[in-house]
Amino acid sequence: MDIASQPPFVLSQRHLLGIEGLSRDDINGLLDRAEHFVDYNRQINKKQSTLRGRTQINLFFEVSTRTQSSFELAGKRLGADVMNMSVGSSSMRKGETLIDTAITLNAMHPDILVVRHHASGAVELLARKVDCSVINAGDGSHEHPTQALLDALTIRRNKGDIERLTVTICGDILHSRVARSNIILLNCLGARVRVVAPSTLLPPGIERMGVEVFRDMREGLRDADIVMMLRLQRERMSGSFVPSSSEYFHYFGLDEKKLSYAKPDALVMHPGPMNRGVEIESGVADGAQSLIREQVEMGVAVRMAALEALAQNLPNA
């Protein structure tokens, strides 16, 4: 297949910092383009030259396996030179501020920075200090746009259309950037979005973000088309938000019984990494209704689409 025969999608902005600010056309454009990359990635020769000569730096202030490797593969398949920097080896450990790190990296003339940071808003702050394009690979509890895009692509491929689907997002909404990006994106594409969690894991005011709020799985999952589970993010918790993982699993963990409250053809998603037996039972995670592995595949395609779309705006492109 010749990917070049399709015109690349051009994003109307320099950075991809969040789903907030993207139009419906932006989202659909990226998803359409990602569809092509899905097929392309299934070929033997996956190498492309769109980003030949370009430098992509993956700057991860927070550990990551799937997102970082997914961005690395995406960049390499498009022909870019990809460098990974993670917090363990960075000078941030030696006391350098975020902005100094940005200025230092900027002096090396990268074309695209892919950044993950533990503080909400940190990626945007960094983007203001550099001349290249920046992709937010997750900032604190704020946004994770490529995750929401890959989730949307996964849903679209399995359900045909996102409009009018009922999507229930369950679990640690409070700490989840995945939830926030998904809420914005799914609303933008016309889905009905619900959240289910104990009150301690719901940010006060969430109901104003266009979601129906439930505190009971039976009610929240009733007639759902998509059940999106979130990881209980203990590393972001100071103090106890839930008493124990056994109680959490009992009331909020997805097992066969709770899944049966959703539509019979409901599909199960999880952004990973999973805590099996805490928010999801193994049988469900690996079961026939699970899309979890497909989500990972879509991740590479979506990130290729995002890198390509931003590269169209780079100088001399």
Partner: protein, 433 residues
């Protein structure tokens, strides 16, 4: 006779049922563990064969009492009170449901302990026993317990017993989480740093005795904080024992605002005051301390008006060895489950409160708050019923008390009125002859 369960007809009684606002002379029929009827003139003719007919002329028939705050030392402190002795004391005092404090050893902070207590109570107790579970793990005030699983196991409310959770964030989260399960949080309102080394009410009397005082503010600071957090979370909150006028103002404001808040006071704080400490009587050392007479009188008025919802015994059996010490070094706490009602009758005889109000605060209201059966005399309800003689005069002899410990502040007190029969689920478990 005591344990036989045949139908019972209580005749010619003054029947006081606060749940129906009724106070009339009539009969009450009990069969199969439930109240069949309560009305004028059921008569011996209309009852099943073999019914035990008890003439209750000049006596009061009322719902069995529900005591929301009592310490039972099982597991871990059997020498202070067991479920068996505690329940016998309860029966003698007209208490048909004991709600246990969770500060046993180990604390009631996991479902297995709730299960243990319920099984043990089934085998050894003669009245109903319902455990409260700990609000935080190990009563440490740090991490909330499993409200959902504990409730499912049978815990009726959540409390850190005689400790306050000092970390406001922990309290906020616990209240927020509790709301999802409609769990009732019962909280001791006393700031430990303001209590400090205090052992009695702060004021002139403490100054004269040379004892360190506990200010009212120790209570109001925590109460005020809690009520704001309860309003924020929308959770059901219950102050476990208020003692002073200042707290009543705080409570009234929150109730007026529609916060789902309720409160108890202990029998000690409505029948005694700081003067009862006299010359360092350690049996009158309780926590929070006995307050000023004005506070006591205000608490009684608050009960009469319904501002304060419930009266608890705050039954706290203490060994002689922990009480036979200089006042400041003695353990706080007084037994009370056996004397709660008769002590309360003092207020009725002094015309400080109506009998039906007193009974309501000890039976109907706690049953409602905890979602328990009982606390009323409606046909169909569980037959937890007491018979009272309001007038018989007597002097309390601590050696006749059923409790394992004898630390009663009513030691040799002259009392008027007593419980003459206690019926639990249709079975007579106590009879005064």
């Amino acid at each position: 006779m005591l344990n036989e369960r045949r139908p019972i007809l209580l005749t010619n009684a003054r029947i006081v049922d606060p749940s129906r606002d009724s106070d009339f002379t009539g009969d009450l029929l009990i069969a199969d563990g439930v109240i069949r009827d309560a009305k004028r003139g059921i008569g011996a003719a209309g009852v099943p064969e073999g019914t035990e007919i008890i003439d209750c002329r000049d006596k009061v028939v009322a719902p069995g009492l529900v005591d929301m705050r009592a310490f039972v030392g099982e597991p871990g402190a059997d020498y202070r009170e067991t479920l068996a002795t505690g329940s016998q004391a309860a029966a003698a005092g007209g208490v048909t449901t004991i709600v246990m404090r969770p500060d046993t050893t180990p604390a009631i902070d996991e479902p297995a302990v709730v299960d243990f207590i319920l099984r043990r109570a089934r085998d050894t107790a003669i009245v109903h026993v319902r455990p409260m579970a700990a609000l935080t793990k190990g009563l440490k005030g740090e991490e909330m317990t499993e409200f959902g699983l504990l409730r499912a196991a049978g815990a009726v409310a959540f409390s850190d017993a005689n400790r306050s959770v000092t970390n406001a964030q922990v309290m906020r989260r616990a209240l927020t989480y509790a709301r999802d399960f409609d769990a009732l949080i019962v909280h001791h309102t006393e700031d430990p740093s303001l209590v400090g080394d205090g052992v009695m009410n702060e004021g002139e009397f403490a100054a004269r005795l040379g004892l360190v005082g506990v200010p009212n503010a120790a209570e109001t600071v925590i109460l005020e904080r809690d009520l704001r957090l309860a309003a924020l979370a929308g959770a059901r909150y219950h102050a476990s024992a208020l003692t002073c006028i200042d707290s009543l103002d705080v409570l009234r404001r929150a109730k007026d605002m529609g916060v789902p808040v309720t409160a108890s006071c202990s029998i000690n704080h409505i029948t005694l005051n700081e003067n009862d400490v006299g010359s360092y009587r350690t049996f009158c050392k309780v926590s929070p301390p006995l307050r000023h007479e004005e506070d006591r009188a205000a608490l009684v008025r608050a009960l009469a008006s319904g501002l304060i919802d419930t009266i608890v015994s705050d039954h706290d059996p203490q060994d002689v060895e922990t009480k036979r010490l200089p006042f400041a070094e003695a353990a706080p706490g007084a037994i009370g489950i056996e004397t709660m009602l008769v002590a309360g009758l003092r207020l009725v005889h002094n015309q400080e409160i109506e009998l039906s109000k007193l009974i309501a605060a000890m039976s109907m209201r706690p049953a409602e708050l905890l979602g328990l059966p009982g606390g009323n005399l409606r046909p169909g309800s569980v037959a937890d019923v007491i018979v009272l003689d309001l007038n018989v005069p007597w002097v309390l002899d601590p050696n006749e008390l059923k409790s394992k410990c004898k630390n009663t502040p009513f030691d040799e007190a002259k009392l008027q009125g007593r419980v003459v029969r206690t019926i639990v689920a249709g079975r007579t478990v106590y009879e005064y002859v």
